[in-house]
Amino acid sequence: MSAAVEESFDEAGRRSVTLPFARIWRSGLLAGGTWLVAAALTYGLPDVISWGATELFAAVVLTGAGILLALSVTVHRLGSVGRTLVHYGPWFVVLGLWFAAWEVVTAKLGWLPKPFFSPPQGLLQAYVTDWERLLICIAYTGRLWGLGFFSGIVVGFAGGVALGWSKRFAYWGMPLLKLIGPVPASAWIPCIFFIFPTTFQASIFLVALASGIPVAILTAAGVSQVNRSFYDVARTLGADNRFLVLKVAIPASLPNVFVGVFMGLYYSFAVLVVAEMLGAKFGLGWYLQFNTAYSAYANVYAALIIMALICAGLVRLLFLVRDRLLGWQRGIL
């Protein structure tokens, strides 16, 4: 199926003129079909368990089906966006099937009971009814995460450079870092409550710690592993220590630093829930706990999906930054 699509792409130049209607994106067509089925099942079968937003979800999926069907004939004209869509074609097919099956076993047949399993329409209902609160939560979490993550990686990076560069620093710092590293975030709560004047600062500290420690460890490893002859070369060329650190040690260890930043990004998201336990009034982590306490799992899943999407987006962004800074690695890796 996808081979046929790729083939028609490879020969785009020749075929597009002679046979414009022969070039149909078959996955797109099929996906439109599966989405149509999902919409029909959602709308046609009665809800055994009421989750709300039945018609709305059916309408959304129907719209999706319409777009996919339209794309199945026009996607070849969309250039690189089109190519990306074609690449994920099979996913769209499966997504439609998944919507249909998910609807049927939850809302329509009730095999998976409320409140533990929410159908997609339940998630939609959560977004529709609670979007204002969710937006506020995203903003609060964004502020906490932004402050925590960036202060964490800055301090972690600076500490990592010092640990990797200075033997004395490493002598005292490395054991401490190894001791602190594996301590779970929640274990810090008693003592950070005492140290920090406000719970917000305490929360920032937890996020910063989670993101800073992997950065520090990997930066230290990176700096200490720099090929000694780079230093020799730079020194014979007249470099002082400052030059050696800034222009040799740091760029040489940057690939390692980025591994640390990626790890820090994931850890910082994982720690958000704990960080927002500390007297926060809004925030995605808080939202998860609050709704878990009320068994509003549809809202929990809805917020989890938002967190996953934000995290994926940030990872994507970080890849762009990395590719920009580490362009010289292209062709080595």
């Binding site: 020799d232 730079a234 020194r235 060329l237 007249g238 470099a239 002082d240 580490l326 010289w328 080595i332």
Partner: protein
């Protein structure tokens, strides 16, 4: 009078004195003696080759001259002053090009100028030396995009841009294929003649030493001491099959413990 004349004719060079130098490395608590009472004098503008078996301590001598290390006993002097730290007047070119992989060829060449804070005044030199080593078309390439010979030429340019008065070469062509090596030897000779710097080349290639150097100093196995010293009077360009060089080659090989008949 003669000294003044020498100074005038080689203003861009340093005289190097190695005075009774012995050197030891401490490795896991045991001492490894690499140099044993080595003394030699290299005049301004001279091209001297250090010849010896692999791992005999030749490279250590270069590291001492570069100021990367200080000798356990004895002294290394540049124009009569003891060498205690690296100085861009004396630049070491390593066996591996050791280009900084995150810098382009141009940025690699600029390293010394940047480190000394003279990049703004002397930036024009980068283009000049890149032309000199025939890399002007590769200024924006990264190290991994270069061939071995090109990388080594870039390393040479990175040294030459600082106008070194003493160029220390640690088997710079040792890892190149033989054709590239011949070409690079000629280029080095050309650069030395036009640059007027003092050159100290470490090699284990007898032919390379004879083709390039004014004087060949033969070192023993570790700990290295001076076994012999041969002056090569032949003018450049030298032919490797000239009777004189063939005879010198035989005698050098004998001094290295390799008989020609064996």
């Amino acid at each position: 009078m003669s000294l003044a004349l020498l100074r005038a004719s080689f203003p861009n060079s340093i005289a190097l004195d190695v005075d009774g130098v012995s050197h030891r490395y401490e490795i896991d608590g045991s001492a490894l003696q690499v140099l044993d009472n080595v003394s030699l004098t290299i005049e301004r503008g001279e091209f001297v080759a250090l010849l010896g078996p692999s791992g005999c301590g030749k490279s250590t001598l270069l590291r001492l001259a570069a100021g990367l290390e200080t000798p356990t006993t004895g002294a290394v002097l540049a124009d009569g002053r003891p060498i205690t730290a690296p100085n861009p007047d004396r630049i070491l070119v390593f066996q591996d090009a050791t280009l900084f992989p995150w810098r382009t060829v141009r940025a690699n060449v600029a390293t010394g100028l940047e480190a000394r804070g003279v990049i703004r005044e002397r930036e024009y030199r980068i283009g000049e030396v890149l032309r000199l080593v025939k890399l002007e078309g590769f200024a924006d390439f990264y190290a991994h995009q270069l061939s071995g010979g090109m990388a080594q030429r870039a390393a040479l340019a990175r040294a030459l841009v600082n106008d070194p008065k003493l160029l220390l070469l640690d088997e710079p062509f040792g890892k190149l294929d033989s054709l590239t090596r011949l070409k690079m030897q000629n280029e080095l000779l050309h650069l030395w003649k036009s640059g007027g710097f003092t050159a100290l080349l470490v090699t284990h290639d007898v032919e390379e030493a004879l083709l390039l150097a004014d004087r060949v100093i033969v070192l023993s196995d570790r700990p290295a001491s001076i076994v012999a010293e041969v002056r090569v009077e032949q003018p450049h360009p030298r032919r490797r099959d000239s009777a004189n060089l063939v005879a010198l080659r035989r005698s050098l090989l004998e001094k290295l413990g390799i008989s020609h008949d064996a």
